[in-house]
């Protein structure tokens, strides 16, 4: 082998080795969560950590799901699912209509609207928490699914409109016009031609909204203060504090249960989401 080739080989080995290190660093906490969740509680409180579940048990999951804890998991799961699914559906519908308005029509105030969407994304939720709480209180919407859903819809709308706009822009209107020449009405042309082409964009945007709503903690903490109205992130924290000596194995089981749907969705649509993010942030 020529020296140049030897050197290239050597570098490629070095890069691959660094890649493995990067992989291990990013994966280890996730692995450690799952590993701990599968170990009996007495084992994780030993002098030496168990690096793999050599005494595999599902007791922690059983305890979290059906056990008699002060913070039951299933009602929190129900609340989280209800709020998240409602948020996704409403936000997608509203964002879709708004995206159509700003891409398919030219009207006065259009630029101002898009600008507002951009600026709203920068207002920190922490700053608004007090007034959001008081406004919801005034409308009797504290501790209700409707109240939290409303807040989440408003939180995700700017970003969903922003991304969907990119997707709608990507569908050439000539396609619709061609269908109209072939005898479709405007509405028919839209539903038969444009809408199917938008489906991937709607899925990616929907998943984004799902993840946002599923993970949100601060607003849920403030709006859903009654124990039976908790969502999963609030549950996770309360669960951690409710027990006298922290039951880490159970908390890790709960964390795993909470993270699984997000990770699955993320793996499915990440490519589209990254390109959507780049397009939304850079190109529009």
């Amino acid at each position: 082998m020529s020296p140049a080739r030897v050197r290239r080989r050597l570098w490629s080995v070095i890069w691959s080795a660094i890649a493995v290190v990067v992989f291990l660093c990013s994966v280890f906490p996730v692995y450690w969560m799952v590993n701990t969740s599968l170990l009996p509680n007495n084992l994780i409180r030993g002098p030496v950590p168990h690096f793999w579940p050599d005494e595999l048990t599902f007791r922690n999951y059983e305890l979290v799901l059906f056990g008699d804890t002060r913070a039951p998991f299933l009602p929190a799961l129900g609340n989280s699912l209800a709020v998240t699914l409602l948020t996704v559906m409403i936000a997608l519908l509203f964002a879709f209509l708004a995206a159509l308005a700003v891409t398919r029509f030219r009207f006065r105030g259009r630029k101002a609207f898009i600008l507002t969407i951009l600026v709203i994304q920068m207002i920190p939720g922490e700053a608004m928490i007090v007034s959001t709480f008081r406004v919801l209180d005034g409308w009797q919407l504290l501790n209700t699914i409707a109240g939290l859903t409303l807040v989440y819809v408003a939180t995700v709308l700017p970003f969903t409109i922003w991304t969907l706009r990119g997707f709608v822009n990507g569908v050439p209107i000539e396609l619709e016009e061609a269908a109209m020449i072939d005898g479709c009405t405007r509405t028919q042309a839209f539903w038969r031609v444009t809408f199917p082409l938008l489906a991937p964009g709607l899925v990616a945007t929907g998943v984004f909204a799902f993840i946002q709503a599923w993970n949100e903690f601060l607003l849920a903490l403030v709006v859903m203060s009654r124990p039976e109205m908790m969502t999963l992130p609030v549950w996770l924290r309360t669960f951690q504090q409710a027990t006298q000596t922290t039951n880490w194995a159970a908390i890790m089981a709960g964390s795993t249960l909470m993270a699984i749907p997000v990770i699955i969705f993320f793996l499915i649509v990440q490519g589209r989401m990254t390109s959507g993010l780049v397009a939304g942030a850079v190109k529009g």
Partner: protein, 308 residues
């Protein structure tokens, strides 16, 4: 943009402004009710004496700029703000640096190893922030944490029983690890997506001209990706400056509140913790103003680059 100008003219004249207005009504109502109205309320409270008594129905009293004067004259506020800015700065620099390095690494990897790195990054990115804090908190646990155990295997080191969260400096060290771990993937993926757009011919030509790796990055790649870098840096600044969940949850696991609060947590404690909504409102308005000042550049840039 996609429409031929004539088609635009005729169709849009026919439909008038009614159709887009109808399409925008739902979004408009939600945003006005949940963003606009609370924002107005926030500004109003910040000029009022608004405490627990007012929550239970006593009419609030106007105090003019008093809340702002109190906040700006409070050395604790400045300490928290300074701490937040310093913390954000460290995190932004670390995240951008590591993210860019990982993206550059991905460019050099063969398919399998690139996939490996991507999967790892995705898992870190997809973790809910709160779950991440809980998991890292467990890894750093004083007695049974894997990190204390592994470090103690090094000869001469004994960290069993060492508490990482009690000292403010190491508390923020742990927080930085968690936040960087979760935000490097976003930067890495975005920069990587940008890097794949840089034309190979230019890079090859530069290499033939004798430009080293550092110069190639500085003179060709960086200018090419400048707009991406600007956007993600500003997003990182905003996200790291308003960090709440990680700090709040980490304090719950074992940090001292007074010494570790960032501005987001401080607003939360002042308003909902102590019930001083007026002062909390004033701090919030100040934070919004800071954010707006930072993001003006981003907004301007977006407008320039867009036909909108």
């Amino acid at each position: 943009m996609a429409l031929a100008p004539t088609a635009v003219g005729t169709r849009r004249r026919r439909s008038g402004a009614l159709a887009p207005a109808m399409l925008l009504v739902p979004t408009g109502i939600v945003l006005l009710a949940i963003i606009g109205w609370p924002l107005v309320q926030l500004i109003i409270i910040s000029f009022q004496e608004y405490g627990r008594a007012q929550v239970f129905g006593r009419p609030p009293e106007w105090v003019g700029l008093q809340n702002y004067i109190d906040v700006l004259g409070d050395s604790f506020f400045w300490a928290v703000l300074g701490r937040s800015i310093l913390f954000a700065a460290v995190n932004v620099v670390l995240t951008m640096l590591l993210g860019t390095l990982v993206a550059l690494l991905m460019m050099r990897l063969h398919k399998f190893f690139r996939l490996l790195v991507s999967v790892g990054l995705l898992l870190a990115w997809a973790m809910p922030a709160l779950t991440a804090v809980v998991v890292w908190g467990w890894m750093f646990d004083t007695q049974y944490g894997v990190i204390n155990y592994v470090l103690s295997q090094v000869p001469g080191v004994d960290l069993i029983g060492h508490s990482w969260l009690i000292e403010p400096l190491s508390f923020f060290g742990v927080a930085t690890m968690i936040i960087t771990w979760q935000s490097v993937p976003f930067v890495a993926f975005t920069v990587y997506a940008g890097l794949t757009q840089v034309p190979d011919e230019v890079l090859e030509a530069a290499q033939l001209d004798g430009a080293g790796a550092v110069n190639r990055f500085r003179l060709i790649v960086f200018p090419y990706l400048k707009s991406i870098f600007v956007v993600i840096t500003i997003l990182q600044i905003i996200w790291d400056l308003r960090v709440f969940t990680q700090i709040y949850a980490l304090q719950g696991i074992g940090g001292i509140r007074e010494q570790t609060s960032t501005i987001g947590v401080y607003i939360f404690q002042t308003s909902l913790g102590t019930g001083d909504f007026g002062t909390g409102g004033a701090i919030a308005v100040i934070l919004v103003i800071i954010m707006m000042t930072i993001s003006i550049y981003y907004v301007k840039k977006s407008i320039q680059e867009e036909t909108l």
